[in-house]
């Protein structure tokens, strides 16, 4: 018997120990680098133990659950390690392990160095609360650890509290998180009243016991509440504000796994708490997924702040995940459990894949920030010569996130395509047209993502350095490189060995739809199929092997013909102009210009050019160029909302007269009203 419970508890203890050590170290006011290293190693130990626990559940079927009563009514510390929880736990522990290793070298050079022990305290609090978020199985307990996670993440985001940008991003995150929790609370209570219990085990299929109107309300509240955490459009505005300003190891965790807590919540609600839903529910999720994916990548393209660009890509990938979830919901409504399993696997697989490559990319961006001190791509360039390992790992992450074969991003996007294609045959109604159109927009999203990462990698790492800081950049320490290496190898393994990994999803789909899909989705020779070999198949492992094998052809050509050809290094031709400098290079802004023009209706770009000249405008001395795009959601959605709230607040102020008698009257009137309400009910 696999000691799931023991490993899980030991992992939590390791995190808790690191928290205690962090607090003690902070209180003693003696900063020593060995203490920080020890704390990071403790988190690493915790992550490895949790990895063992999750792997035991997923690969060994060693599920576990237990309940500790709290003495407080309704609240119990119930913990349940079921397959869905273990799947997210697996992603979390993988990321936690790499981030712990990364932090060994990173903390001493980042904003965290001012009080590294306190930083480790919050980091471990975040890991601990995340572990519990995925496993808590009582509504109140879940909400408590959910809030702990939000608070820990908030303090980590604003750790560099001297920067106004960080404070502002943190506040926005905190507000959105509050709003989300509010919706969650109401949604959960609606479900709990139907089930008559706050335990998750009792909530299974509770959505069915509510009246259609209440069931729909609870569904929407929970979707939006979890969506605010996941960063669906239009609740996404905190991601690009908060993720880039956090220390990079925290950005990696935020984009990699904290937003996945929202996805976990959705999976729990959609496929555990609700048995079947009407078509509109799945359609809402699918449409929000498509919109988030497309707008996320379009805004990412306009960014030249490396970390903000990555944050926008998180919105895009959450959208792709929701395309899978939305299709799964629709297929379940149409009565096609087989297809629903395929779509759910697509969504969950993309969740794991995105966690891995986004963490890798943020750690890479952190390395760049560490080496150059800037996130602005227009000041970078030429880093591939100065930081060859970081560049290689970032390139692997870039290929994976662009969904290119044979890495893991391709596999989950391929499954998403197949799910969408299969959707066309799932229903005879007009709804079927939504699936191929969503597929086409997914194709657009993926192609734009590739364009964006050509820009991100090309401008940051290739050609000539655009600033002195980039010129002087040095490779990052070994610990940071090895963390990236682990994640890069994971991208490769999850891509090539996807067929071996699929059985992990069997217990999850069995619980949700009563179907173990992995044997239909894989064939011998590491081939992935869309239900059957006939309906379509792909083999990333064979593609990789063939790409290497076919490499013999061009090599042979060069050896046979090009034997005598010489190979010299010289200045770039550059159309015959001598003296190529960094000023000649294409910039990130210029790279995305065609798309800014094509999607001008969305971006509403504004630009201002001022030229200073003495004699003639054709011989300018200096040119000042400014360009910006309109933040559509901020201007057209959040600003009116903010004005509305302020307007109501100003009116409400009249209630507050500062007189205790008046307040007592309010209390009294409320009491009477409640009593009347109670008597009537």
């Amino acid at each position: 018997m696999w000691p799931t419970r023991e490993l899980f508890t030991a992992g939590l203890l390791a995190y808790a120990l690191a928290m205690a050590g962090g607090l003690a170290g902070h209180a003693s006011k003696r900063t020593a680098s060995w203490i920080t290293s020890l704390l990071c190693l403790l988190s690493l130990a915790g992550a490895l133990l949790e990895f063992g626990a999750s792997a035991g559940v997923l690969f060994g079927g060693a599920e576990s659950q237990w309940v500790l009563s709290s003495g407080v009514p309704y609240l119990s510390y119930s913990v349940r390690l079921d397959p869905l929880a273990a799947f997210f736990g697996l992603a979390l522990s993988l990321l936690a392990a790499s981030v712990s290793i990364y932090s060994l070298g990173y903390i001493a050079h980042s904003a965290a160095r001012r009080s590294p022990e306190l930083f480790c305290f919050f980091l471990n609090l975040l890991l601990l609360s995340l572990t519990l978020v995925f496993t808590a199985s009582n509504v109140l307990f879940f909400l408590i650890v959910w809030e702990l996670m939000a608070v820990a993440a908030y303090f980590l985001v604003v750790f560099d509290h001297e920067s106004a940008e960080a404070r502002k991003g943190g506040l926005l995150y905190f507000l959105m998180s509050r709003g989300g929790t509010g919706m969650l609370l109401v949604g959960f209570l609606l479900l709990a009243t139907a089930a008559g219990s706050l335990e998750f085990s009792a909530l299974h299929d509770a959505g069915q016991q509510l009246s259609p109107a209440l069931g729909a309300t609870a569904f929407l509240l929970l979707f939006l509440g979890f969506g605010a955490k996941a960063g669906i459009i239009p609740l996404h505005i905190w991601l690009p504000a908060a993720h880039p300003v956090a220390p990079s190891n925290i950005s990696a965790l935020m984009s990699g796994i904290v937003i996945k807590a929202g996805i976990y919540g959705m999976a729990r609600v959609f496929f555990d708490f609700y048995g079947t839903l009407s078509v509109w529910a799945g359609m809402t999720v699918l449409v929000i997924g498509v919109v988030s994916a497309l707008l996320g990548v379009l805004y990412a393209l306009m960014e030249h702040d490396l970390k903000r660009l990555l944050a926008y890509h998180s919105i895009e990938n959450i959208g792709i995940i929701l395309m899978g979830f939305g299709s799964a919901l629709l297929f379940r409504s149409f009565g096609h459990p087989q297809l629903a399993a395929l779509a759910l696997i697509a969504g969950l697989f993309h969740t794991l894949n995105h966690a891995v490559f986004k963490c890798l990319l943020f750690l890479g961006a952190g390395g760049v920030l560490h080496a150059t001190g800037t996130r602005n791509m227009e000041e970078l360039g030429g880093l591939i010569r100065r930081m060859p390992s970081t560049a290689l790992y970032f390139l692997i992450g870039a290929i994976a996130i662009s969904g290119l074969p044979p890495l893991n991003g391709f596999v989950s996007e391929w499954f998403t395509y197949q799910a969408l294609l299969a959707g066309f045959g799932a229903t005879p109604t007009l709804t079927r047209l939504a699936f191929p159109v969503a597929g086409a927009l997914l194709a657009l999203t993926a192609a734009l993502a590739a364009a964006c990462f050509v820009k991100a990698f090309g401008i940051t790492f290739l050609a000539l350095p655009r600033s002195e800081a980039a010129e002087r950049a040095r490779e990052v320490p070994f610990s940071m490189r090895s963390a990236m290496a682990i994640l890069a190898v994971t991208c490769l393994v999850l891509g090539l060995g996807a067929a071996w990994f699929l059985p992990v999803f069997d217990p999850i789909t069995t619980r949700a739809f009563g179907i173990a899909a992995s044997k239909d989705l894989a064939a011998n020779g590491l081939i992935l199929t869309a239900g059957s070999l006939r309906s379509g198949s792909v083999s990333p492992a064979m593609i990789a092997a063939l790409l290497i094998g076919l490499g013999a052809v061009p090599l042979l050509l060069l050896v046979l013909w090009g034997r005598k050809s010489s190979r010299t290094t010289g200045p770039a031709w550059d159309c015959g102009l001598a003296g190529l400098t960094a000023q000649n290079e294409f910039t990130a802004t210029a790279f995305s210009k065609p798309l800014r023009m094509i999607f001008g209706a969305l971006f509403r770009p504004r630009r201002e050019i001022q030229a200073e000249y003495e004699v003639s405008p054709y011989y300018p001395k200096a040119i000042h160029f400014e360009s910006e795009i309109e933040p559509t959601f901020e201007t057209h959605f959040y600003r009116p909302l903010q004005h509305g709230i302020l307007w109501i607040a100003t009116r409400m102020r009249r209630l507050q007269q500062g007189s205790i008698h008046l307040y007592l009257l309010y209390v009294f009137v409320t009491l009477i009203l409640l009593l009347l309400f109670g008597v009537r009910g």
Partner: protein
């Protein structure tokens, strides 16, 4: 087993050695239509032969990406060519990847080519990369939707299955959704292979270049590999069009009938190439920002194709 290996080798030979012929034919036909003599159908072979023996200059600003790009591009394009049925309905490797893998392998090659353009630091390289990624991105929805239409009627993304399905009913290309999807894919073909009115492969003016701007700094054997890849990519996309929509002459297995199939296949390719050349000679190159409108037309065509599957 031996038969499969022979089929694989045969297909490698077809993709490698037929592709420059199509390019040569297009150029010659275009020259004739413009009242020029042209350099001859075999000129692309001579170009590749010559370039492979020449020396090359690697820009000192470039990194290993610049040198890896020609190999990646060549290998990904060649592999894409092995996943689609050419003379036999049974492509040798179709089990390892269907039409999605073909599209994404070409995208992987393009990803590296665009990086190669940026790697030298020359402004024209970046300009080409930016435009190439933009145009391929906005061509993608039309391409995918048209492919979906075809895949949906065959019930598979495996190209061998799709080809066999259309082989069963040879006159199906007259169905409205097939004709509309073909029209959409034809526009995408022009955009993806960089032909007038989207891009002019013969231009000398760097500012108007797209594909050529990215590869300005390449020379010698690397340039040969890139030029050859461009020819192969054109062959792959054209094969996709002719064999999915007009599967006449495709043999079922690999036998002597495939030799006859090779003749018919080449004929179909030459006809399609001639159609592209006709479009090229009768149109002027568009401004870059008019290209999205053309691709929007392709998208509408494929969307209509999809809706007509629903109706018929």
């Amino acid at each position: 087993m031996t038969e499969r290996i022979l089929a694989l080798l045969a297909q490698i030979a077809i993709v490698l050695f037929l592709s420059p012929l199509i390019t040569g034919f297009s150029r010659t036909l275009k020259a004739r239509l413009q009242m020029r003599r042209g350099a001859g159908i075999l000129q692309p072979y001579r170009d590749i032969h010559k370039l492979l023996r020449k020396g090359m200059v690697i820009p000192e600003t470039a990194s290993w990406i610049f040198s890896a790009t020609p190999y990646v591009l060549f290998v990904t394009t060649l592999l894409a060519g092995l996943l689609i049925p050419t003379v036999s309905a049974q492509a040798p490797l179709s089990l390892y990847g269907g039409v999605l893998a073909v599209v994404y392998l070409l995208a992987l090659g393009r990803f590296f080519l665009a990086l190669g353009g940026l790697d030298t630091g020359s402004s024209f390289g970046g300009l080409g990369s930016s435009r190439e990624m933009t145009i391929s991105a906005i061509a993608e929805p039309a391409l995918m939707l048209a492919i979906f239409t075809v895949a949906l009627s065959a019930g598979s993304t495996n190209l061998s299955v799709v080809a066999q399905a259309s082989l069963g009913q040879s006159w199906r290309f007259l169905a409205p959704q097939q004709m509309l999807a073909f029209a959409a894919l034809f526009i995408v073909l022009i955009a993806e292979t960089g032909r007038i009115p989207v891009d002019n492969p013969a231009t000398h003016l760097e500012l108007t270049m797209i594909h050529e701007a990215m590869i300005l700094e390449y020379s010698g054997p690397y340039l040969a590999l890139i030029e050859w890849s461009a020819a192969m990519k054109q062959l792959v996309l054209m094969t996709l069009l002719v064999n999915v929509f007009f599967p006449f002459g495709l043999s079922i297995g690999w036998s002597f009938a495939t030799l006859l199939g090779l003749g018919l296949f080449s004929l179909k390719l030459l006809l399609l190439a001639a159609a592209v050349v006709l479009v090229e000679t009768t149109n002027a190159k568009m401004r870059l920002f008019r290209v999205p409108e053309l691709l929007a037309v392709a998208f509408v065509l494929s969307a209509t194709a999809l809706i007509s599957t629903f109706l018929f």
